[in-house]
């Protein structure tokens, strides 16, 4: 093949697309080959020698003036429609991976999706995102994706695979065998229709919905309680008192983005609001939600049911119903019950329990509190979790019994995440036809006869009904990069139907959804409009009758009477906000995302209370074997219930690719299935100290504020009497801010950011959004251990109070864009300067890397490229990229508006200056002023809590200017007179009900 030089990777992809337009789809292979070609071109040459030689300062000038070889950019022969070079297109779509749902916009630059943003038209997620949604764009460009269909482990063509599969399917059909489709919850009506078509084509087939994080207990409880298995829609915004039993609703429980939006709505003390919900949280480990609670009560998982029973019994008493005495719980809930009773119909009790009886009792509580119909809407169902554990258990049994002839594993990886791995591996070996549609390498696909790789969701058509009547559409933003095919098309094909899912979907919407709409002239107009918006909200309602009795809950209460307390060490298995269930483990952004509580990256670990650690003689990083199964390092976690240890799920992937293989240990197999319920905690846990230590990479190692006024806090009570409570220092310092020279004024624009500490939950969405937007390198575990992570925005977390039961505060910190910036003064080469719009600017090209600015930054927000993390260095062969973030494929995610920084250069938050410039240009061409809120830096855009506000300080009506005038506003280390352009609003805790 002739060697081809590319001017840039952009050209590479665009070329590829152009070629593709009149070639069969199969030729995508050529792209991969070409990429490899490009890589192989880079070996040492004469120029390298010159570059080395150039290190003598004298010859540096020679090098810099050395003539570059002429490279010609080849223009498009036919300009593609809608593609203006340098201008991004946004496509509305939907993210749903079986765990998280988010309505999104996909930012596409020059044919490449490069960023996910929240879709503000959706009333469910309302423009919010979370870390995993933000990071999902990177998984599109993952070398661990299946690039071809495979039969028996050999890459082959789709025709071949289809032929073989269809042969086998018809064989099964003729013998009347069963084919199981195992999928996560299907929230897509069209996909469900496709599955139904398949089942219709192969009678005897059935569909199993298998949720890794199941809501089985809720479905079961509601089935008993209401006679219908469903998850209701919760309304945290309507609740004045929220009691949560281990439901991590801000992090991972059901629909966290939606709940975060709701939750902060009545906790935000801006725009004249003066009330806040009171949030009481019971848990054993420390969850994101727990750390945000007004009152966090430590209980062991085994005690949860007892506490719920106690509360239920108390509420019953308050309701004047006869109650029974249950075993006294570890905490007195009388006061809580009274408080809830006082907030009747304005409260909400939820539990993340895996126990149906606990859920039933919570239903009883909510029923007595008249929360159904107010804070819990049973007429709208949350469809995010439909699978029950017994479905899967039954399937596994059948599989092992050899009663199933074919399995289609659609988007699930049970070999990795089902508690009993052996049952799966054995079972799968007994099936004649096993098909996996995995997008990415996974443990289950390895055991399947056929791998029919699905498109990545950014390459796919789809739809979703997240809640009753809340629909959204997904559309591809790029043609499939590899020889993959959407699973729906595969199913249609195998079912003998026309295999174009886009047409299928459109038909589905035009026939099924269009009638629900109003105001559209034609079904095509409806389709086009909805495709544009991404969402469609009808006013459908479910019919659920409220029960007249609470007998089912009472029965559960009666059962609880016999509960006993144990004293053993208990283990909580949880999912964190980064890799989650492990599905996204191969996403370097997520792996390097520090846990919001422990600030640990790149590993799971045993979180242990300080007391227990002392008792067992354990220290941080010491290796401990749990239940004789897996060995993990210890991380002492203040706030952990004394005898409760926690381990995150989602680690220990074996076949997920670089970098996730071997990161952490798989804790799924510690789980147990007890009478059809997956148990997310165990008791009688054995912890055995084994020799040695294992280093943990934390991004923050000191956890106390040392009494400094860094995060300023107050209680609601104090706030109501004095809005500047907790922020007295601000008023005191303000008059002292005097310079020996005139303070600079900024005419016109003066960019500033306001961060409401009261609503920031610490979910980390902004961190990933920032990395994606600004091409922030991933440095890998070793470098994080060296404290060299590159995140431009970090969320500092401090503990205060008692180490056994600390309070948690957190604070997002990015470049403060100080108007009196200490960093700017000291740069010898003027690489960092102040713009006339108040931005602290970095000219990467000018930076010579003295790190002086970093030393003189009191906030330590500047980041230095210690190594060649990006491959942008003048030297070849010194790239430091253990996590393979700089392969040609991965690099497609880079934002071309932001320079990729070279080795030896300082970088930092720019307030997303590229976004500012873009919007300024838009306003200028439209000959108008910028609107307030028009410019949103990536962090502000991604924030589900809308904690970050950005705007022009000179515009007195702008939100940010109003926030800056607030009594709650203060600046970090303001006594230094650095005049930061970032303001923080004090955190207010609602300590009274």
């Amino acid at each position: 093949m002739e060697k081809k030089y590319f001017k840039s990777l952009d050209e590479l992809t665009i070329d590829f697309q152009k070629d593709n337009s009149n070639q069969p789809a199969g030729d995508k292979q050529s792209l991969l080959e070409m990429q490899q070609e490009v890589t192989s071109l880079s070996s040492a040459t004469r120029r390298d020698f010159l570059k080395v030689f150039g290190f003598t300062v004298a010859s540096a000038a020679i090098v810099s003036s050395c003539e570059q070889p002429v490279r010609k950019a080849i223009p498009f022969l036919i300009q593609p429609e809608n593609l203006v070079p340098g201008v991004a297109n946004y496509y509305a779509s939907t993210f749903f991976d079986g765990i998280d749902y988010c309505s999104i916009l996909i930012k596409v630059r020059d044919g490449r999706p490069i960023k996910i943003e929240g879709n503000s038209l959706s009333s469910v997620t309302a423009g919010g995102t979370n870390a995993r949604t933000q990071a999902s764009v990177l998984s599109l460009y993952d070398n661990a994706r299946y690039k071809n269909p495979m039969a028996k482990g050999v890459e082959t063509s789709w025709e071949d695979v289809d032929q073989q599969i269809q042969n086998q399917l018809s064989a099964i059909k003729t013998k009347g065998g069963k084919v199981a489709i195992v999928s996560p919850t299907i929230i897509s009506p069209a996909t469900q229709a496709v599955i139904n078509e398949f089942i219709a084509a192969y009678p005897g087939s059935f569909h199993v919905q298998y949720d890794t994080l199941s809501a089985s207990s809720i479905l079961k409880a509601n089935e008993k309680f209401f006679g219908k298995a469903f998850v209701p829609a919760y309304h945290f915004e309507k609740a004045e008192t929220i009691v949560s039993f281990n439901a991590d609703f801000l992090g991972n429980w059901l629909s966290p983005i939606e709940y975060t939006k709701q939750y902060v709505k009545n906790r935000k003390l801006t725009e004249g609001q003066r009330t806040m919900s009171h949030h009481v949280h019971f848990e054993g480990g420390v969850s994101l939600t727990g750390s945000n609670a007004d009152k966090r009560i430590q209980i062991r998982p085994s005690e949860e049911k007892i506490v719920i029973a106690n509360l239920y019994a108390e509420i019953k008493k308050l309701a004047g119903l006869s109650s029974i005495d249950v075993l006294a719980g570890p905490v007195d809930v009388k006061e809580l019950a009274k408080q809830l009773w006082a907030k009747k119909s304005k409260s909400l009790v939820v539990t993340g329990s895996d126990d149906t009886e606990s859920q039933l009792m919570v239903n009883g509580i909510n029923q007595l509190l008249e929360n159904y119909g107010s804070t819990i809407d049973t007429a709208v169902h949350l469809k995010i979790r439909k699978g029950t554990d017994d479905q899967m258990e039954l399937f596994v049994k059948e599989l092992n019994a050899g009663n199933i002839d074919g399995v289609i594993l659609y988007d699930v990886n049970p070999v990795y995440d089902y508690p009993q791995k052996d049952l799966l591996t054995n079972g799968l070996s007994k099936v004649g036809l096993s098909i996996s549609t995995s997008v990415m390498n996974d443990e289950t696909a390895l055991l399947c006869g056929f791998i029919c790789p699905d498109n990545h969701y950014l390459e796919s058509w789809n739809d979703a009904e997240i809640k009753t009547g809340f629909y959204s559409l997904a559309q591809p933003a790029i043609r499939p990069i590899f020889k993959t095919r959407q699973a729906q098309e595969s199913l249609l094909k195998w079912a003998g139907k026309p295999a174009d899912f886009r047409i299928y979907l459109q038909n589905y919407w035009e026939t099924i959804q269009y009638p629900k709409s109003t105001g559209y002239l034609s079904s095509t107009a409806f389709w086009n409009a909805k495709l544009h918006d991404g969402v469609f909200e009808s006013s459908e309602k479910e019919v659920v009758n409220l029960p007249f009795t609470i007998t089912t809950a009472d029965a559960a209460l009666t059962n609880t009477k016999n509960a006993t307390k144990t004293d053993s060490i208990e283990l909580v298995l949880y999912v964190n906000t980064s890799v989650g269930t492990g599905k996204h483990a191969n996403n370097p952004w997520l792996q390097e995302l520090p846990d919001p509580i422990s600030k640990i990256t790149w590993d799971n670990y045993i979180a242990l209370s300080p007391k227990l650690a002392e008792q067992l003689g354990l220290e941080d990083e010491q290796l401990v074997k749990i239940n004789n199964q897996i060995t993990l390092p210890v991380a002492i976690q203040p706030g952990q219930e004394k005898n409760t240890v926690s381990v995150a799920l989602g680690y220990g992937r074996e076949n997920a690719g670089i970098p996730s293989n071997g990161v952490g240990q798989n804790a799924y197999h510690l789980m147990k299935v007890v009478s059809g319920e997956k148990k997310y905690w165990l008791n009688e846990v054995s912890l055995e100290k084994v020799g040695g230590t294992y280093p943990i990479a934390r991004t923050q190692t000191h956890h106390s504020m040392e009494g400094r006024a860094i995060v300023r806090e107050t209680s609601l009570e104090e706030y109501l009497t004095d809005p500047s409570a907790g922020n007295e220092l601000h008023k005191e310092i303000q008059p002292h801010l005097k310079s020996l020279y005139e303070q600079r004024k900024f005419d016109g624009l003066h960019w500033a950011m306001s961060i409401d500490l009261n609503v920031c939950t610490g979910c980390n969405a902004c961190v990933i959004a920032c990395s994606a937007e600004n091409n922030v390198p991933v440095v890998g575990k070793d470098q994080v251990m060296m404290r060299r992570e590159m995140h431009w925005i970090r969320i500092d977390r401090y503990y205060s109070g008692d180490t056994d039961n600390p309070e948690f505060v957190r604070q997002p910190v990015m470049c403060q864009h100080c108007d009196n910036a200490p960093c700017e003064n000291v740069c010898p080469v003027a690489a960092t300067t102040h713009s006339n719009e108040g931005l602290n600017q970095m000219a990467y090209n000018r930076c010579i890397g003295t790190r002086y600015c970093n030393n003189n930054c009191p906030y330590k927000v500047r980041r230095f490229n210690f190594f060649d993390y990006t491959g942008a260095d003048v030297f070849q062969g010194n790239k430091k990229d253990e996590v393979q973030m700089t392969t040609d494929l991965r690099r497609l995610v880079l934002n071309p508006d932001v320079t990729v920084r070279a080795k030896g250069v300082i970088e930092k938050c720019s307030f997303c200056v590229q976004r500012i410039q873009e919007k300024k240009l838009v306003a200028k061409t439209e000959n108008r002023q910028l609107f307030d809120g028009e410019i949103k830096p990536a962090c502000a855009q991604s924030c589900p809590a809308e904690a970050i506000v950005f705007g022009n300080l000179n515009d007195v009506h702008s939100k940010v200017a109003i926030n800056f005038e607030s009594e709650r506003n203060y600046h970090l280390l303001e006594e230094l007179h650095t005049l930061p352009s970032v303001g923080y609003l004090t955190k207010v805790k609602n300590t009274i009900a």
């Binding site: 303070q743 200490p822 700017e824 300067t833 102040h834």
Partner: protein, 172 residues
């Protein structure tokens, strides 16, 4: 000027005494070569105080003005940039560099002036009358005018002899 008489001393005090005597007799001393600076010889030979200090002063003044002026020009006129809210005319910041340029200009102008005025330059090939003058000899040189008679020459030699000089030589 290619005829002269040299005579050496072995002690600087004797040299000074001798010089005074020779001068008193009205002979003009062309030069004295010594291994180290002899105190009081300036007065005896009537050497003026060096004006190199003025060179240093002028050099320093130029350095100060250039150093300070250049910085002020760059910051206020050429390319004013806001660094950390500091004024463009950040006078205290200009002091260190201005000071360094002052010293640099003063030192270099003076040293170059010294070398040039004294014709001390690399590769210069001087007449070496006696290799011992850089060791322990003090050499007095008295020019002999063109066409001087031997009588006049011997007069000088005699005067030197009387003044305690050793090793008197006549060179033509």
């Amino acid at each position: 000027m290619n005829k002269y008489i040299t005579a050496y001393y072995l002690d600087e005090e004797k040299l000074l005494d001798g010089l005074k005597q020779v001068k008193a007799k009205g002979f003009k001393i062309a030069d004295v070569l010594s291994p180290f600076p002899v105190h009081g010889i300036d007065k005896v030979l009537g050497l003026r105080r060096s004006r190199l200090t003025r060179v240093a002063f002028i050099g320093g003044a130029i350095g100060a003005i250039t150093g300070f002026g250049f910085q002020a020009w760059v910051f206020t006129m050429a390319y004013p940039i806001n660094f950390g809210g500091k004024p463009f005319f950040a006078a205290p910041s200009f002091i260190p560099v201005a000071f360094e340029t002052t010293v640099l200009f003063a030192a270099f102008s003076m040293v170059f002036a010294f070398l040039i005025a004294s014709k001390l330059l690399p590769g210069n090939d001087p007449v070496i009358h006696d290799e011992r003058v850089t060791d322990d000899h003090f050499l007095v040189i008295i020019d002999v005018a063109d066409g001087s008679s031997t009588d006049e020459i011997s007069k000088i030699e005699k005067a030197l002899q009387e003044a305690g000089a050793e090793g008197i030589k006549y060179k033509a």
